[in-house]
Symmetry: C2
Subunit: 308 residues, 2 copies
C-alpha cells in the first residue's frame, strides 16, 4: 500500500514537556520504531507538524535583539530541516542500509485571496503586554490578539492550494524511497506580480499540516491517510461529561458534528475530505498506535464504504 | 555538462552586512540570476556553506535562557532548511515551471577517529569572558579557545567520509531536477555502537563545505566543480605586499603553496583533490562571476591537462 502519515507537532514535542532537543529526539525515536515497521511493509510518505518547534525559534529570535527575527516562512523552513533530519536519522537507523530515507524541503502554494488572510487566528511567538503589543503592531505591521491577560501575534492559516515539490516526491517514491516532506504543512508561498513579473514569495502564515497531508495524500494517490496525534481517537462531547470515542464512521456522519477549530477540527476535515474525494480510508488516533491505526483496528476510521 | 557549484556561506551573508533575512534574500536573489542561467544549460547540483547562518542561530539560542540551546547538528539542519528554501524559491522563480528545483536535507558521515576531534579549531556561537568560558566548559563539556581578548567554543572540522543521501540526489538528477543538497558541508553524523546496536548519531562538528562539495562532485561524476566565494581567485602572497591572482594552474603546482586554514586552504584542497582524482576541472572565484568560472574564463582554474 501507499501510505501518507501525518505526525502532530505536539506529538513530537508534547505540551507537558520542556521543548528540549533531547525530549524531541526521544519522542521521535519512539515513534520511529513503529514507523520503520510500517515502512518495511508499505510505501511511506511522512509529514509532520511544527507548532511547538516554530514557537521556540520565534522566542529565541525575539530574545536576541541584535538582529531582527527572521520571517515566519524562513522559520518554518528551519523547523522542516530540523524535524526532517531527526526523523530521517532515527528511521534510517532502523531500516536496511539499502533503503533510501530522504527529507525534502517543501513549498506549498496558498492564495492571497484566501479569506483566512482577513481573519488571522494562529498565535505565534512571545506574549506581550498591551503596551508592547501596540508597539510591535505599529512597528512590524503584525496583527495582535488577546491571549489570556496578554497579547500575541496571530497569523493566517490559509488552505493549501498546491504542493510545489510534488514531482520530486513522486520520483523518489517510484524508486522506493521513504520520503519525509511538507513539514509544518509546507512553507507557505503565494503568487505575486503580473505577467513576466509573476513570482512566488513566502508569506507570514501557517498552513494546517493535516489539510496539507490530505492534499499530499490525494495528489500521491495514497491508499490510506493516517493522522497521528496525542489523543487516541476523535471524541464526541470532548471535555464534556460523557466523552465518547468515535470508531468507524462515514465522512457524512462525521459532518454532523462540530470539532474544535485549530485542534481536532482540521484533522476531521482532512480525514473527511480524503475519504470523500478518493473513496479510501483515513484514520485519526494516537502516535502510540500508528500500526493499529493503519490496520484499521484503533482510533477513528473514516471511510465511505461498509464497515468491517 | 554535470556541474556541482559550492556557494560560500559568507558569499550569501557577507561579513560587512548585518545578518538579516533581507540581506540574505537579496544576495541569494542576485546569485540566483546567474545560477538559473547555468541551470538552463547544464545539470546542476548546488551546495552551500552555513557559517554565518549557524552562528546567528547559536547566538539566538544562547540569548533565550528558558530552553537549552539545541546541539550543533540540529542547528545545521535548521540552516540547511532555511538556505535551501531561499535558494530554491529564487531559482524556481527564474526557471520554467516544468523544471523541478528541490532541496534535500543531507547527512554526511564522519569518523570519530578523525584526528580533527583531537584538535577542535572551528569557533562557533557567542563570545564569553574567561570566567564564563570556564563555567560553560565545565557545564557543557565544550572545548573553549581564545578569540581576541574573549573566548569562544570551538568544534572539530572532520573530513567528510560518505554522503548518506547520495542515491536520492542521483535519482533526482536523472529526472533532470536541479538539486540543492549537503548544505553547510552536510549534517555531520558518525557511526556509534557495535554489531546490531550500530547506529548513526549527530556529532558537534562542522564539515568543511568545500571538501564535502569535492566528495559530492566525485561521487556524482561531475564534469566541473565550481567553488564560489567572496574573492575573485586564489591569490599568492594574499595579505602581503604583492598579491598575485592565480589563473590556470595544475594541482601539482598548487601544492607548492600554503593557503590559510579554514579559509582559502580547504577550497584549494578541494579543487586539487577533484582535479587529481577525476582528471577534470575545478574553479575557484567570485560568486559574481559564476558563469565565467564555469566557462573557464575567470578565477583560478585547476586542471591537470594542457592549459588553453
Amino acid at each position: 500500500m501507499k501510505v501518507v502519515i501525518a505526525l502532530g507537532g505536539n506529538a513530537l514535542l508534547r505540551r507537558d514537556q520542556p521543548p528540549t532537543a533531547e525530549n524531541q529526539r526521544d519522542n521521535i525515536r519512539r515513534a520511529a520504531a513503529q514507523l520503520a515497521r510500517v515502512a518495511r511493509q508499505h510505501d511511506l510518505v511522512l509529514t509532520h507538524g511544527n507548532g511547538p518547534q516554530v514557537g521556540l525559534l520565534a522566542l529565541q529570535a525575539a530574545a536576541y535583539k541584535a538582529v531582527e527575527a527572521y520571517p515566519l516562512d524562513v522559520l518554518g523552513a528551519q523547523t522542516d530541516g530540523m524535524i526532517g533530519y531527526l526523523l530521517e536519522q532515527e528511521l534510517a537507523n532502523l531500516l536496511p542500509t539499502t533503503r533510501t530515507v530522504t527529507t525534502l524541503i517543501t513549498r506549498v502554494e496558498v492564495s492571497l485571496q484566501d479569506p483566512a488572510f482577513q481573519h488571522p487566528t494562529k498565535p505565534i511567538g512571545p506574549v506581550y503586554s498591551r503596551a508592547e503589543s501596540e508597539r510591535v503592531a505599529a512597528d512590524k505591521g503584525w496583527v495582535m490578539a488577546p491571549d489570556g491577560a496578554a497579547f500575541r501575534r496571530v497569523v493566517a492559516s490559509p488552505r493549501p492550494v498546491r504542493v510545489l515539490g510534488l514531482q520530486a516526491i513522486r520520483w523518489l517514491m517510484e524508486h522506493g524511497a521513504l520520503v519525509i516532506a511538507a513539514g509544518g504543512g509546507g512553507i507557505p508561498v503565494a503568487r505575486i506580480g503580473e505577467g513576466s513579473d509573476q513570482r512566488m514569495q513566502g508569506v507570514a502564515a501557517v498552513i494546517d499540516k493535516d489539510l496539507c497531508a490530505c492534499l499530499l495524500a490525494r495528489e500521491l494517490n495514497a491508499d490510506v491517510l493516517v493522522i497521528a496525534t496525542d489523543v487516541a481517537a476523535v471524541f464526541l462531547d470532548w471535555g464534556g461529561p460523557t466523552p465518547r470515542a468515535i470508531g468507524h464512521v462515514t465522512p457524512q456522519a462525521l459532518a454532523e458534528h462540530h470539532f474544535a477549530t485549530g485542534s481536532m477540527g482540521p484533522k476531521v476535515e482532512a480525514a473527511r475530505a480524503f475519504a470523500l474525494a478518493t473513496g479510501r480510508r483515513a484514520a485519526i488516533g494516537s502516535l502510540e498506535h500508528i500500526e493499529d491505526l493503519l490496520a484499521g483496528s484503533a482510533g477513528t476510521q473514516v471511510s465511505c464504504g461498509q464497515h468491517k
